[in-house]
Symmetry: C2
Subunit: 387 residues, 2 copies
């Protein structure tokens, strides 16, 4: 996803303004509590924190989970350098060469890097735009399980699809993991961003019969608009896995002290913050979907959660189109960036004309970005595709 | 090394004061520049930094290296979450199953965890206390090289031994790496802590004929007494490795933004800071070595760098002795902690009666800690060993 960076730099040097919808970097303000908290740090020596994490932060996270109906012991929470380290260390613990993780595609492309770094492989569970990227199909999931399968992994709400599982679907996937004795890795970093009230604040953490299977990956990045803090955690009640993860945590010594102090303060922020953020993103989702539906040939399903939407564009190749948007196109000096779809798929040839749009900008900016996309498609079809 | 933590907690709950010489956590003040810099952060959104690192920090590190005679391009520097992430990502890039890294033992035990996580194995280059733990012996090193060897790794100055290589030894090891086409990983985080002026500020970075072999692991933790910042870097001029590391860096998105801002300021601190730190540690080294030499039966070599010393104690088992010191011993309510030696060795049975002492406390505290060690040994010999 970051491979377009040098082209974007060139476009900017050439005087273009880029509407960035390519990275899930929210523009909302980080709560002031974070900045206030880090300013209270008064030790003269900036020392290593405890390897499992700062007790103050672990307690703040425990309380947060209790409020959403998940009862945890402090030892069930291990603080990580973002959801990224949470994923990497988890895969390093549970995967061996040739073992597999079943993941519905399209999925967050960095999963592939982490799984491969741990020696494992991703087994993609195919979905389709026509079915709204829904993947909770018992038969399809079970058909992929082999003796090499070590885990099922889901992102709920989904990145890049915005799919949110129903309670029945969550329960069914939990049952599959339990029945086949597999780890169930749930990336729940977008948990607070569900636009339909029926989903509540979804988490697998409430099912107590899968204590030995469940691994929740979490982060303050999206929830509190604090991506640069690099503070996340792994939540698991599996004691053996806790011990293995703790060993890796001890080896890398600690997570940054001051960011943990700030993150602990974030968890103390009034929950009205979640509600306001969600309302803002809902307006943005509605804006993007409304605009996309007006562009001839664009296909899009309304996402129910997270802050991404997948769309099929009437172009031959979204990657080529993105290069063209940066190098050949502008409208009054403006152009637009999104994430081409193919890297979100494991299956070769899929997602070629799809894009992921991160609706992480203000309504007016999104409207302008969608106008740029419409104009770009029209000109690209004419000038490059010869339509 | 952190396995004694729960016993230490218990000892403290029982009212004991513990003199901690077990972890390389310096007590010197972190330069105020760090705290001042992080307070200048004024963005409303705490966003992801660039994956290779904050340009301001990369430039600060480039300048620092130029001052010690190492000419680098900004792209030769990749910012990491401490030396720990630098090590883990390096091993993930260069190791495959069954490949080996040659490391002189005793060595920093976390190397084992990182090498194993990457699927590789450590091939220990044995040294002995009698030879002052010196390892730069061409024949011995070359005798360990096989078709599976991927890298030679050294820590210079050494942790836990304090060994510092001479210029000739460094050049010889560089020659071996070049001749056998191996990576040469140099953990140089203790570079500024050499107590004999003849060593200068040692770095392999000055040898330009090993550009494709050399990987330097670096960190602000010890240099600036800023362990909790979790900011380090990998320095390599090998373009292929840079690309592989960058891919992993992009997958984990970024290093904490505010800590990078603070770290950039650290590199601007007057070099008098290094001189003062070194003078302070020299006094501490002299204190510890002088005290250790007075304890009957203790064997110790004067370390030339870093802030550790290995010592053989006249006890049957340093691990057992450490448990006893926490659970059974006190002198006016005080006891002492060090790191038992065995985990620093790959070879089974080695280091059983050795300990690593981190002289990271004030002179008076070190004197008291050595007094506790002396009293502890005497009582342990009598009460446990029956001497």
């Amino acid at each position: 996803m970051r491979k377009f960076h040098p082209y974007a730099v060139k476009a900017k040097e050439a005087g273009k303004t880029i509407y960035h919808l390519n990275i899930g970097q929210p523009d909302l303000a980080t709560p002031q509590a974070f900045y206030d908290a880090i300013r209270t740090f008064s030790e003269t020596t900036l020392a290593y924190e405890a390897s499992p994490g700062m007790p103050l932060l672990i307690e703040a996270i425990r309380k947060y989970y209790a409020e959403i109906g998940v009862d945890l012991d402090p030892s069930d929470i291990l603080i990580m350098t973002g959801g990224s380290e949470a994923l990497l260390l988890t895969f390093l613990c549970i995967l061996d060469p040739y073992t597999e993780v079943i993941i519905p595609e399209p999925y967050y492309p960095n999963y592939t890097t982490f799984v491969n770094a741990a020696g494992g492989r991703i087994r993609a569970l195919p979905t389709s735009a026509e079915e709204g990227y829904r993947y909770a199909d018992r038969k399809r999931i079970e058909s992929l399980i082999t003796k090499n399968t070590r885990a099922i992994m889901i992102t709920n709400p989904g990145n890049p699809t915005g799919v949110v599982l129903s309670e029945e679907e969550m329960r069914m996937i939990a049952d599959i993991a339990k029945k086949h004795d597999l780890f169930l890795i749930c990336d729940e970093v977008y948990r607070e961003f569900c636009y339909d009230d029926k989903f509540g604040v979804p988490t697998m953490g409430r099912y107590r019969d899968i204590d030995d299977n469940l691994i929740i990956v979490d982060s303050v990045s999206k929830r509190f608009s604090a991506c640069g803090a690099r503070v996340g955690c792994v939540v698991t009640r599996n004691k053996e896995l806790q011990a293995a993860l703790l060993k890796l945590c001890q080896s890398r010594l600690a997570v940054a002290t001051i960011d943990q102090l700030g993150a602990a303060a974030l968890y103390g922020v009034d929950h009205a913050f979640f509600r306001k953020s969600k309302e803002e993103y809902k307006v943005r989702r509605d804006t993007v979907v409304r605009c996309l539906r007006k562009i001839p040939g664009v296909k899009v399903e309304e996402p129910m959660g997270a802050f991404y939407v997948m769309a099929s564009l009437p172009v031959d190749d979204a990657d080529k189109f993105q290069h063209w948007l940066l190098e050949e196109f502008d409208d009054n000096g403006d152009t637009v960036m999104f994430a081409p779809g193919a890297p979100f798929y494991e299956t070769p040839g899929k997602g070629i004309n799809e894009v992921r749009i991160a609706y992480v900008r203000k309504k007016e900016e999104l409207e302008r970005a969608m106008e740029l996309l419409a104009k770009g498609i029209a000109r690209y079809q004419k000038e490059v595709m010869g339509l």
